[in-house]
Amino acid sequence: MSVWQAVVAVCLGCYALKLAGLSAPRRVLDHPGVRRFAALVPVALLAALIAVQAFTHGQALHLDWPRTAGLGAAVVALLLRAPFLVVLAAAAAVTALLRLAGL
Protein backbone atom coordinates (compact mmCIF):
# COMPACT_ATOMS: atom_id res chain seq x y z
CA MET A 1 0.00 0.00 0.00
CA SER A 2 1.45 3.36 -1.01
CA VAL A 3 1.15 6.43 1.20
CA TRP A 4 -1.31 7.98 -1.29
CA GLN A 5 -3.49 4.84 -1.17
CA ALA A 6 -3.52 5.01 2.62
CA VAL A 7 -4.40 8.72 2.51
CA VAL A 8 -7.31 8.15 0.08
CA ALA A 9 -8.57 5.14 2.06
CA VAL A 10 -8.57 7.18 5.29
CA CYS A 11 -10.34 10.11 3.60
CA LEU A 12 -13.11 7.96 2.09
CA GLY A 13 -13.49 5.81 5.20
CA CYS A 14 -13.66 8.72 7.64
CA TYR A 15 -16.36 10.44 5.58
CA ALA A 16 -18.36 7.21 5.23
CA LEU A 17 -18.23 6.68 9.01
CA LYS A 18 -19.59 10.20 9.65
CA LEU A 19 -22.37 9.78 7.08
CA ALA A 20 -23.35 6.37 8.48
CA GLY A 21 -24.15 7.86 11.88
CA LEU A 22 -26.34 10.62 10.45
CA SER A 23 -28.11 8.19 8.11
CA ALA A 24 -28.89 5.39 10.56
CA PRO A 25 -32.62 4.55 10.59
CA ARG A 26 -34.62 6.54 13.18
CA ARG A 27 -35.76 3.23 14.68
CA VAL A 28 -32.25 2.79 16.04
CA LEU A 29 -32.52 6.03 18.03
CA ASP A 30 -35.99 5.19 19.36
CA HIS A 31 -34.47 2.48 21.54
CA PRO A 32 -33.83 4.05 24.99
CA GLY A 33 -30.64 2.03 25.46
CA VAL A 34 -29.19 3.35 22.19
CA ARG A 35 -30.24 6.89 23.16
CA ARG A 36 -28.47 6.65 26.50
CA PHE A 37 -25.41 5.01 24.93
CA ALA A 38 -25.15 7.76 22.31
CA ALA A 39 -25.55 10.45 25.00
CA LEU A 40 -22.86 9.07 27.29
CA VAL A 41 -20.32 7.74 24.80
CA PRO A 42 -18.83 11.11 23.71
CA VAL A 43 -17.98 11.86 27.36
CA ALA A 44 -16.11 8.56 27.70
CA LEU A 45 -14.29 8.92 24.38
CA LEU A 46 -13.31 12.56 24.93
CA ALA A 47 -12.00 11.75 28.43
CA ALA A 48 -10.04 8.81 27.02
CA LEU A 49 -8.69 11.03 24.24
CA ILE A 50 -7.39 13.54 26.82
CA ALA A 51 -5.65 10.78 28.77
CA VAL A 52 -4.16 9.13 25.67
CA GLN A 53 -2.92 12.39 24.14
CA ALA A 54 -1.53 13.59 27.47
CA PHE A 55 -0.08 10.49 29.08
CA THR A 56 0.96 8.03 26.38
CA HIS A 57 3.55 7.87 23.67
CA GLY A 58 2.85 5.13 21.10
CA GLN A 59 2.07 2.06 23.19
CA ALA A 60 3.90 3.25 26.30
CA LEU A 61 2.51 5.13 29.28
CA HIS A 62 4.63 8.24 29.42
CA LEU A 63 4.50 11.25 31.71
CA ASP A 64 5.78 14.36 29.97
CA TRP A 65 6.14 16.86 32.84
CA PRO A 66 5.88 20.11 30.85
CA ARG A 67 2.76 18.82 29.03
CA THR A 68 1.20 17.61 32.29
CA ALA A 69 1.91 20.99 33.91
CA GLY A 70 0.32 22.63 30.85
CA LEU A 71 -2.84 20.59 31.46
CA GLY A 72 -2.69 21.61 35.11
CA ALA A 73 -2.60 25.24 33.98
CA ALA A 74 -5.65 24.55 31.82
CA VAL A 75 -7.49 23.16 34.87
CA VAL A 76 -6.61 26.28 36.90
CA ALA A 77 -7.81 28.50 34.03
CA LEU A 78 -11.06 26.52 33.84
CA LEU A 79 -11.58 26.82 37.61
CA LEU A 80 -11.10 30.59 37.22
CA ARG A 81 -13.75 30.51 34.44
CA ALA A 82 -11.28 31.83 31.86
CA PRO A 83 -12.47 32.00 28.23
CA PHE A 84 -11.72 29.04 25.98
CA LEU A 85 -8.77 30.63 24.14
CA VAL A 86 -7.14 31.67 27.42
CA VAL A 87 -7.37 28.06 28.63
CA LEU A 88 -5.55 26.79 25.53
CA ALA A 89 -2.98 29.59 25.62
CA ALA A 90 -2.25 28.86 29.30
CA ALA A 91 -1.65 25.18 28.51
CA ALA A 92 0.68 25.93 25.58
CA ALA A 93 2.54 28.75 27.38
CA VAL A 94 3.25 26.76 30.56
CA THR A 95 4.39 23.74 28.52
CA ALA A 96 6.63 25.87 26.31
CA LEU A 97 8.13 27.79 29.26
CA LEU A 98 8.95 24.63 31.20
CA ARG A 99 10.61 23.14 28.10
CA LEU A 100 12.55 26.38 27.67
CA ALA A 101 13.65 26.06 31.30
CA GLY A 102 15.02 22.65 30.37
CA LEU A 103 12.61 20.42 32.30
Binding site: M1, S2, V3, Q5, A6, V7, V10, C11, L12, G13, C14, Y15, L17, K18, L19, G21, L22, S23, L29, P32, G33, F37, A38, L40, V41, P42, V43, A44, L45, L46, A47, A48, L49, I50, A51, V52, Q53, A54, T56, G58, Q59, A60, L61, P66, R67, G70, L71, A74, V75, L78, F84, V87, L88, A90, A91, A92, V94, T95, A96, L97
Partner: protein
Protein backbone atom coordinates in the same frame (compact mmCIF):
# COMPACT_ATOMS: atom_id res chain seq x y z
CA UNK B 1 -33.50 35.24 25.68
CA UNK B 2 -33.48 33.44 22.36
CA UNK B 3 -30.97 35.88 20.86
CA UNK B 4 -28.77 35.48 23.94
CA UNK B 5 -28.50 31.69 23.63
CA UNK B 6 -28.03 31.99 19.87
CA UNK B 7 -25.22 34.55 20.15
CA UNK B 8 -23.60 32.51 22.90
CA UNK B 9 -23.74 29.51 20.51
CA UNK B 10 -22.01 31.63 17.87
CA UNK B 11 -19.38 32.74 20.41
CA UNK B 12 -18.77 29.14 21.54
CA UNK B 13 -18.52 27.95 17.95
CA UNK B 14 -16.10 30.66 16.87
CA UNK B 15 -13.97 30.18 19.99
CA UNK B 16 -13.68 26.43 19.53
CA UNK B 17 -13.36 26.61 15.75
CA UNK B 18 -10.60 29.22 15.66
CA UNK B 19 -8.66 27.86 18.64
CA UNK B 20 -8.74 24.21 17.64
CA UNK B 21 -8.27 25.18 14.01
CA UNK B 22 -4.91 26.67 14.96
CA UNK B 23 -3.68 23.20 15.93
CA UNK B 24 -3.78 22.42 12.21
CA UNK B 25 -0.34 24.03 12.36
CA UNK B 26 0.76 21.13 14.53
CA UNK B 27 -0.83 18.61 12.16
CA UNK B 28 0.76 20.12 9.04
CA UNK B 29 4.12 20.15 10.76
CA UNK B 30 3.74 16.61 12.16
CA UNK B 31 2.60 15.24 8.80
CA UNK B 32 5.51 16.65 6.84
CA UNK B 33 7.97 15.66 9.58
CA UNK B 34 6.51 12.15 9.35
CA UNK B 35 7.27 12.00 5.64
CA UNK B 36 3.92 12.91 4.10
CA UNK B 37 4.02 15.47 1.30
CA UNK B 38 2.43 18.91 1.69
CA UNK B 39 -0.31 17.78 -0.76
CA UNK B 40 -1.01 14.61 1.26
CA UNK B 41 -1.29 16.60 4.49
CA UNK B 42 -3.72 19.03 2.83
CA UNK B 43 -5.84 16.26 1.25
CA UNK B 44 -6.22 14.63 4.68
CA UNK B 45 -7.36 17.89 6.29
CA UNK B 46 -9.77 18.66 3.42
CA UNK B 47 -11.40 15.24 3.12
CA UNK B 48 -10.76 13.18 6.25
CA UNK B 49 -11.20 16.26 8.48
CA UNK B 50 -10.96 14.50 11.82
CA UNK B 51 -7.82 15.38 13.75
CA UNK B 52 -7.20 12.26 15.79
CA UNK B 53 -7.39 9.98 12.72
CA UNK B 54 -5.10 12.29 10.75
CA UNK B 55 -2.51 12.40 13.55
CA UNK B 56 -2.76 8.61 13.90
CA UNK B 57 -1.96 8.00 10.23
CA UNK B 58 0.93 10.49 10.32
CA UNK B 59 2.28 8.75 13.43
CA UNK B 60 2.35 5.37 11.69
CA UNK B 61 4.02 6.81 8.58
CA UNK B 62 6.64 8.42 10.85
CA UNK B 63 7.28 5.18 12.72
CA UNK B 64 7.65 3.29 9.45
CA UNK B 65 4.75 1.06 10.53
CA UNK B 66 2.44 -0.91 8.24
CA UNK B 67 0.31 1.50 6.23
CA UNK B 68 -2.64 -0.92 6.27
CA UNK B 69 -2.55 -1.05 10.06
CA UNK B 70 -2.10 2.71 10.09
CA UNK B 71 -5.15 3.27 7.88
CA UNK B 72 -7.16 0.77 9.97
CA UNK B 73 -6.18 2.54 13.19
CA UNK B 74 -7.16 5.91 11.73
CA UNK B 75 -10.56 4.48 10.69
CA UNK B 76 -11.10 2.92 14.13
CA UNK B 77 -10.60 6.36 15.62
CA UNK B 78 -13.15 7.68 13.13
CA UNK B 79 -15.82 5.26 14.42
CA UNK B 80 -16.65 7.64 17.26
CA UNK B 81 -17.88 10.13 14.65
CA UNK B 82 -20.51 7.51 13.70
CA UNK B 83 -21.69 7.54 17.32
CA UNK B 84 -21.71 11.36 17.33
CA UNK B 85 -23.75 11.25 14.11
CA UNK B 86 -26.33 8.99 15.78
CA UNK B 87 -26.56 11.50 18.61
CA UNK B 88 -26.76 14.54 16.31
CA UNK B 89 -29.13 13.16 13.65
CA UNK B 90 -32.29 14.34 15.45
CA UNK B 91 -30.77 17.56 16.73
CA UNK B 92 -29.45 18.74 13.35
CA UNK B 93 -32.49 17.50 11.46
CA UNK B 94 -30.44 17.12 8.26
CA UNK B 95 -32.39 15.14 5.65
CA UNK B 96 -31.89 14.19 2.00
CA UNK B 97 -28.97 15.72 0.14
CA UNK B 98 -28.25 18.20 2.97
CA UNK B 99 -26.90 15.25 4.97
CA UNK B 100 -23.93 15.01 2.58
CA UNK B 101 -22.23 18.33 3.47
CA UNK B 102 -23.38 18.21 7.12
CA UNK B 103 -21.83 14.75 7.59
CA UNK B 104 -18.33 16.12 6.94
CA UNK B 105 -18.74 18.32 10.04
CA UNK B 106 -19.61 15.54 12.50
CA UNK B 107 -16.52 15.50 14.74
CA UNK B 108 -15.55 15.89 18.42
CA UNK B 109 -15.61 19.68 18.58
CA UNK B 110 -18.83 20.33 16.64
CA UNK B 111 -20.62 17.62 18.64
CA UNK B 112 -19.42 19.06 21.94
CA UNK B 113 -20.52 22.61 21.05
CA UNK B 114 -23.89 21.44 19.68
CA UNK B 115 -24.64 19.32 22.75
CA UNK B 116 -23.65 22.14 25.13
CA UNK B 117 -26.45 24.40 23.78
CA UNK B 118 -29.75 24.71 25.67
CA UNK B 119 -32.10 24.30 22.67
CA UNK B 120 -32.26 22.87 19.15
CA UNK B 121 -32.00 26.18 17.31
CA UNK B 122 -28.78 27.24 19.07
CA UNK B 123 -27.46 23.67 18.79
CA UNK B 124 -27.77 23.89 14.99
CA UNK B 125 -26.19 27.36 15.01
CA UNK B 126 -23.36 26.17 17.25
CA UNK B 127 -22.72 23.17 15.01
CA UNK B 128 -22.61 25.19 11.79
CA UNK B 129 -20.46 28.02 13.19
CA UNK B 130 -17.99 25.55 14.72
CA UNK B 131 -17.88 23.49 11.52
CA UNK B 132 -17.32 26.49 9.23
CA UNK B 133 -14.70 28.27 11.37
CA UNK B 134 -12.87 25.04 12.23
CA UNK B 135 -12.89 23.76 8.63
CA UNK B 136 -11.46 26.99 7.22
CA UNK B 137 -8.88 27.49 9.98
CA UNK B 138 -7.82 23.83 10.14
CA UNK B 139 -7.18 23.66 6.39
CA UNK B 140 -5.39 27.01 6.21
CA UNK B 141 -3.14 26.18 9.16
CA UNK B 142 -2.46 22.66 7.83
CA UNK B 143 -1.08 24.26 4.68
CA UNK B 144 0.93 26.82 6.68
CA UNK B 145 2.26 24.21 9.09
CA UNK B 146 3.23 21.84 6.29
CA UNK B 147 4.95 24.58 4.28
CA UNK B 148 6.64 26.08 7.31
CA UNK B 149 7.94 22.85 8.81
CA UNK B 150 11.42 23.39 7.52
CA UNK B 151 11.49 26.59 9.62
CA UNK B 152 9.68 25.23 12.73
CA UNK B 153 11.79 22.23 13.56
CA UNK B 154 9.78 21.07 16.57
CA UNK B 155 6.21 22.22 17.41
CA UNK B 156 6.75 20.85 20.93
CA UNK B 157 9.00 23.85 21.62
CA UNK B 158 5.88 26.03 21.50
CA UNK B 159 3.88 23.67 23.71
CA UNK B 160 1.50 22.90 20.82
CA UNK B 161 1.28 19.27 21.93
CA UNK B 162 -0.55 20.42 25.08
CA UNK B 163 -3.23 22.21 23.05
CA UNK B 164 -4.96 18.99 21.90
CA UNK B 165 -5.69 17.52 25.35
CA UNK B 166 -6.39 21.00 26.79
CA UNK B 167 -9.01 21.53 24.05
CA UNK B 168 -10.87 18.34 24.88
CA UNK B 169 -10.63 19.15 28.59
CA UNK B 170 -12.14 22.60 28.06
CA UNK B 171 -14.93 21.08 25.97
CA UNK B 172 -15.72 18.41 28.54
CA UNK B 173 -15.39 20.65 31.61
CA UNK B 174 -18.88 22.25 31.69
CA UNK B 175 -20.54 18.84 31.38
CA UNK B 176 -18.52 17.42 34.29
CA UNK B 177 -19.03 20.39 36.62
CA UNK B 178 -22.70 21.20 35.86
CA UNK B 179 -25.18 21.29 38.74
CA UNK B 180 -27.26 18.46 37.30
CA UNK B 181 -28.42 15.04 38.54
CA UNK B 182 -26.73 13.47 35.50
CA UNK B 183 -23.31 14.94 36.38
CA UNK B 184 -22.34 12.12 38.72
CA UNK B 185 -22.84 9.41 36.12
CA UNK B 186 -21.04 11.55 33.52
CA UNK B 187 -18.04 11.82 35.87
CA UNK B 188 -18.08 8.08 36.47
CA UNK B 189 -18.24 7.44 32.72
CA UNK B 190 -15.33 9.83 32.09
CA UNK B 191 -13.21 8.22 34.82
CA UNK B 192 -13.97 4.73 33.52
CA UNK B 193 -13.11 5.80 29.97
CA UNK B 194 -9.75 7.17 31.11
CA UNK B 195 -8.95 4.05 33.16
CA UNK B 196 -9.81 1.65 30.34
CA UNK B 197 -7.90 3.64 27.70
CA UNK B 198 -4.73 3.92 29.79
CA UNK B 199 -4.90 0.26 30.88
CA UNK B 200 -5.30 -0.88 27.26
CA UNK B 201 -2.54 1.35 25.83
CA UNK B 202 0.41 -1.06 26.30
CA UNK B 203 -1.53 -4.02 24.87
CA UNK B 204 -3.38 -2.64 21.85
CA UNK B 205 -2.34 -0.70 18.74
CA UNK B 206 -2.70 3.11 18.80
CA UNK B 207 -6.31 4.08 18.17
CA UNK B 208 -7.85 1.08 19.91
CA UNK B 209 -7.61 2.30 23.57
CA UNK B 210 -9.87 5.30 22.88
CA UNK B 211 -12.45 3.02 21.26
CA UNK B 212 -12.37 0.59 24.20
CA UNK B 213 -13.40 3.53 26.41
CA UNK B 214 -16.89 3.00 24.99
CA UNK B 215 -17.11 -0.39 26.74
CA UNK B 216 -17.87 0.94 30.27
CA UNK B 217 -20.70 2.99 28.74
CA UNK B 218 -22.05 -0.14 27.08
CA UNK B 219 -21.88 -1.98 30.42
CA UNK B 220 -23.71 0.87 32.19
CA UNK B 221 -26.46 1.01 29.57
CA UNK B 222 -26.98 -2.76 29.56
CA UNK B 223 -27.04 -2.95 33.36
CA UNK B 224 -29.59 -0.21 33.92
CA UNK B 225 -31.71 0.31 30.84
CA UNK B 226 -33.80 3.47 30.97
Amino acid sequence: METTTRSSAIRDGLGVGLAVGLSGLAFGAAAVTAGLSVAQACVLSLFAFTGASQFALAGVVAGGGSLIAGAAGALLLGVRNTLYGLRLADLLDARGWRRLPVAQGVIDETTAVALAQPDGESARTGFLVTFASLYLTWNATTLLGALGTSQVADPAVFGLDAVGPATFLAILWPRLTADDPETRSLRAVAAAGIAVALAATPFTPPGVPVLLAALPVLALVLRRPR
